[in-house]
Amino acid sequence: MEYTLRHIEPEQLATITDLSLLARTVVDGLMSGLHRSPHSGSSVEFAQYRPYTQGDDLRNIDWQLYGRTDRLHIKQYEEETTLRATVLLDCSASMEYGSQSLSKFSYARMLAASLAMLLHSQRDAVGLITYHHELLAYIPPRSSDKHVRRVLVELDNALPAGQTDTSGALHYLGDVLHPRGMVILISDLLQPVDAMVHQLKSLRARHQDVLVLHISDPAERDFSFDSSLTLVDAESGREQFMDPSAIRDEYLSNRTQHFTTIRKACHASEIAIAEFSTDEPLDRALQVFLNHRTRTTAQSSSMRRRAPGGG
């Protein structure tokens, strides 16, 4: 698929204070660049019949066919094209850091708003979870205009603070989510790997389509400080005086190892993961989302064609 996107630089986005306007600007920009929508014709379409078995929903029995054949058949449809997506936004203090015009949190919030607007524009349902070390807000996925506004207001009110507990938020989400939904985690992933990956895998096992959008800052990536300085951990408050040039290699090595572990674990569980720097245009993140959406839709369709009657 070929895209010619009109990129909007983060510096420009930072000047827009109205989150809904910002999200619309991003989405409009994105959509006007698409040649063809990959999601046209999303509706409830008949696929096939199958014999009734105990436990099937009686509402799906085709009574007209029963009248003609005297046998109970269940009417099966194409899978619902309306997506139920839940955006998890990391609101921990580490997200507040930003060496560029946008902090990671501002960038993530814009991204979340834009995704919500994009999903809504495609009549998909969108929900939101904001969290740090505890759950801040949970808005279940809906597709009404009013609902999207609520999501945007919630995003607008969110402030970064506290420590990160992504695994806790994921665990909570696993309990409340509708099956076969989509989970979009937006975080800097600065937390212990094991618990988080375990929860991601758990979601995946529940047939959730999981997309991890990793937000990073250029200064974190390069650790490009010049002179000696004292750094304070935004979450723990721990101070450390250091000579950046002396520890840069070790820092970069540790960081690479951390994210390689996460990436490998995600790939192993068919979890899509992509890294975004706060100096990149938001459009690219949305493009990644659309690519992922297209790919997963195509995969599920082909799987159904290969295994008719599969549930």
Binding site: S94, L231, V232, Q240, I247
Partner: protein, 661 residues
């Protein structure tokens, strides 16, 4: 006695202790953190890093403070003065009261305080102890000789009451020496010298610095006066006349205080009338010269004064000077015959002497062919003999008599004539040595005649060529002859000699163009005029004196500032006016601590040996090597170095500790 400090004021330097503390505190903000998202990837260091340790480690700060304390201690010059334990206690002590009557004591009520203090000292002396009174300024004046008599106390009291302020400056060393000589000539026992003075550094400036009172002379210092005083005054003064007839009076104003002086008026007064005012500002501790320019109406003698109009100024707020109109000198030119030469020597001489505007000489001319009896040489200040040729024996004899009786003679020699032989100049016969063209390669630039030419752009005389000259062998000549200039072949060309009371120059050449290019050279005129000035003015006496100096026509030293007149040796009719001033530095009120005075002029614990003890650089030892007093400043400096070394190694250890983590 015991531990004391030579410069205790340096203890103020302890205030610098706040510097390490402030640095310690100031560095703290640098610890203000740069907020970063997470330190989870930063390698953990369990200790502070080196830089912060170096600055903020409390032990390092204490070591630095200790180094500062020791450094301050070193500059306060702590010393330990040994006690004069071998002083014979059983012998009665004699007392000599030295009352400072120098000019500087006239400041405010200082002199009255000094007299009161001297009376107190006298009152404390037992009536059975001997007592004497000495006034001192430039030197000591024994007013009441040291004597063990009750009546002496009354005389001493009267002497103190009668003391008058002098205009002499302070010379502690000479005064103490005189008092010491008096005391040792009268008695043989311990003497206590009570010095009542304002103790100013200026009194230590002159005099023998290494001389000290022996141990049985104990110095008791009684300080009077206040240090809270403005400390500035006028110093050296000079008068110079410029060729355009302008006179310039230059005077140096000193500010010895720590305060800046703004807009001080300096006045020039001539013959009692103020004619100019200069405004000066002086930075603390600085001196500045100010000058007054004026053109006198005529060449007249006048008395001048430069002074400061300020109630708070010190005693040296005025400087006197005198200007004497230049004396006209009578010069007799004995002319050479013109002969075939269009330009005989006397024309060059006359032209050179008349080239100055308002020349300080009157020129008279006679011919060498005239009889010497017609010249009347004795009436002239100088005889300029343009040639030696044709002089009769009688003329030569007359000239020699003139010189012997104090006359001045400048000879431009010819190859002929006997006068050179009579003066002891040995001419080399032309058969032995023939003069060849040469140029001047050396002149005695240290001689007053040539000192004018010392600057590098004037001291090259090589352009003065000689085609002919009179060859002279100096070794065979009168030993009192000296050469002032030589040619490049080593031959002398200008000689200076003395005969009797007289003085003469011999130019070993004819000042004609056939002989030399000197007359065409720009150096000729100044050289001739300087030579005449040197020959006719070198017996003049100085025009400025300081209190205490003795002019050669006086038997007593000068005691009052102002003007004195004296007869000129040359012009009997015209008296010369000279100025008398207080010593230029007497007004420097910079105080001297009593400890410094004691250590400068007294040796305690050395026994009766009057020899100067040996200085070791950080104290004094007697001839047996025993310490008289010891300074510990160098020890303190050594400790500073040790502390700094400890600090350095400790810092290095801290660095290592961090690197090992």
């Amino acid at each position: 006695m015991g531990l004391s400090f030579l410069t205790p004021i340096i203890f103020a330097g302890l205030g610098l202790l706040v510097v390490p503390y402030i640095v310690h505190q100031i560095r703290k903000p640098e610890r203000e953190a740069y907020r970063f998202s997470s330190l989870m990837f930063v390698p953990k260091v369990t200790h502070d890093v080196v830089e912060r340790k170096r600055i903020q480690h409390p032990w390092l700060m204490l070591l630095r403070m200790l180094a500062l304390v020791l450094l301050t201690l070193a500059f306060t010059r702590p010393y330990w003065k040994a006690l004069a334990s071998n002083q014979p206690q059983e012998v009665a002590i004699q007392h000599l009261i030295l009352l400072d009557t120098s000019y500087g004591m006239g400041l405010g009520e200082t002199f009255d305080e000094a007299k009161a203090a001297a009376k107190e000292v006298l009152a404390d002396i037992d009536s059975d102890e001997g007592v004497g009174v000495v006034y001192f300024n430039l030197d000591a004046d024994i007013i009441v000789p040291l004597e063990k008599a009750e009546a002496n106390h009354a005389r001493a009291l009267k002497a103190i009451d009668d003391a008058q302020l002098s205009q002499g400056h302070t010379n502690y060393a000479r005064s103490l020496q005189t008092a010491y000589r008096h005391a040792t000539g009268v008695i043989d026992g311990p003497v206590q010298m009570h010095v009542v003075s304002d103790f100013r550094q200026s009194g230590r400036r002159s005099g023998a610095s290494k001389w000290k009172l022996p141990s049985h002379f104990e110095l008791n210092t009684v300080s009077v006066g206040s240090d809270e005083t403005a400390n500035f005054g006028l110093g050296e003064l000079g008068v110079r006349r410029y060729p355009n007839g302008e006179l310039r009076v230059m005077v140096k104003a000193h500010n010895w205080s720590d305060a800046r002086i703004e807009d001080m008026s300096v006045y020039l007064e001539l013959n009692g009338q103020v004619i100019q005012e200069n405004i000066l500002s002086l930075r603390p501790g600085m001196s500045r010269q100010t000058s007054f320019r004026f053109t006198p109406q005529s060449d007249q003698t006048f008395m001048g004064r430069v002074w400061i109009h300020d109630e708070s100024v010190q005693q040296d707020n005025e400087r006197f000077f005198a200007w004497n109109a230049p004396q006209t000198r009578d010069i007799l030119i004995v002319q050479d015959t013109e002969g075939s030469s269009r330009w005989p020597a006397h024309r060059f001489f006359k032209q050179a002497l008349n080239s100055m505007a308002g020349p300080p000489w009157k020129i008279h001319a006679v011919s060498s062919e005239d009889s010497g009896s017609q010249w009347g040489a004795g009436e002239f200040d100088l005889v300029l003999l343009c040639t030696t040729k044709g002089l009769s024996t009688g003329d030569t004899k007359q000239l020699l008599t003139y010189v012997e009786s104090g006359g001045r003679l400048l000879i431009s020699a010819d190859t002929e004539g006997d006068i050179l032989d009579s003066l002891g100049v040995y001419r080399v016969p032309s058969s032995e040595k023939r003069s060849v063209p040469a140029q001047i390669s050396w002149v005695d630039l240290g001689h007053p005649v040539f000192s004018l030419f010392q600057a590098s752009q004037y001291n090259d005389f090589s352009s003065v060529q000689f085609m002919q000259y009179v060859s002279v062998d100096l070794e065979k000549s009168n030993p009192r002859l000296t050469s002032l200039a030589q040619l490049d072949n080593g031959a002398p060309i200008i000689l200076e000699g003395q005969m009797g009371k007289g003085h003469y120059f011999v130019w070993l050449f004819q000042n004609r163009l056939e002989w030399t290019s000197l007359a065409k050279n720009p150096r000729f005129v100044p050289m001739l005029q300087e030579s005449i000035d040197y020959l006719t003015l070198n017996d003049e006496f100085p025009l400025s004196y300081t209190i205490g100096e003795k002019p050669h026509w006086e038997n007593e030293p000068l005691v009052e500032v102002g003007y004195i007149s004296a007869d000129s040796q040359r012009s009997i009719d015209t008296p010369i006016v000279c100025a008398v001033n207080v010593d230029a530095y007497e007004g420097d009120m910079t105080p001297m601590s009593e400890e410094v005075f004691q250590l400068t002029y007294s040796v305690a614990g050395i026994g009766r040996d009057e020899q100067v003890p040996q200085s070791t650089g950080y104290g004094l030892v007697d001839h047996d090597g025993n310490a008289i007093y010891s300074e510990y400043g160098l020890w303190a400096l050594g400790l500073v170095l040790m502390v700094l070394l400890i600090e350095f190694f400790y810092m290095s250890a801290l660095s290592k500790e961090v690197r090992n983590v």
